[in-house]
Symmetry: C2
């Protein structure tokens, strides 16, 4: 039993949640290779749709994700990873969560403060 | 400011989370129509990819979702809904969450008990 990579062109959404607090950190995509690498190493791997290659989360920033638990949905085509987030931030914009803005009647309101400065973490 | 429906063929993933406990309940997809109906009514609407039509979550089971908070991700192409789940269960299989099974070394282990019997809730 495993995710059904015969669906959706072999690319399944993976919801990433903080293992202790339950905060949703990000959404990424996994193909079968990313799934296997994640199981093999215990570090979250995704398939980068923009770069069209396997992506070890945190490979550049060092902010890797240690996978603590994996849940699969009823249709076996969505993955939920509960992780320990190294560096305290999952978002490339420097926030703990990619969901750092609340939608309020057409406005976006920041509900988190940045954890790091992307300019310092990512090489130019 | 709103989700960028010019991306991904106008269909964006929406993560649905229990507003109080933080439990991830399901993943669904929204197009602009579903987004607008959700804002207008306060009840979660999605786009059903299998039925290719607008879908009021709970339209058949009565298990609607009252939207308490909406967060958008850094790229404006993923939506996070925090909801109050009527009937206590989001999954058509009768569980509170669609993610009712943990992946453990090739096995799926149920980590929730069903809340309802789908045969009694859905008309044949």
């Amino acid at each position: 039993m495993k995710p059904d990579f015969s669906k959706h062109g072999g690319l399944l959404p993976a919801i990433v949640q903080h293992a202790s607090t339950g905060k949703v950190l990000m959404l990424a995509y996994m193909n079968e290779l990313a799934w296997e690498k994640t199981l093999e190493t215990g570090a979250a791997h995704y398939w980068s749709r923009s770069r069209q290659r396997l992506w070890l989360k945190g490979e550049e920033s060092g902010h890797t994700q240690v996978v603590k638990e994996i849940l699969l949905d009823c249709d076996l085509d969505t993955i939920l990873l509960k992780v320990e987030q190294r560096g305290g931030a999952a978002c490339h914009a420097g926030y703990e969560s990619c969901f750092y803005r609340r939608y309020e009647q057409g406005e976006l309101v920041e509900v988190e403060k940045p954890v790091f400065d992307p300019k310092e973490v990512y090489r130019k």
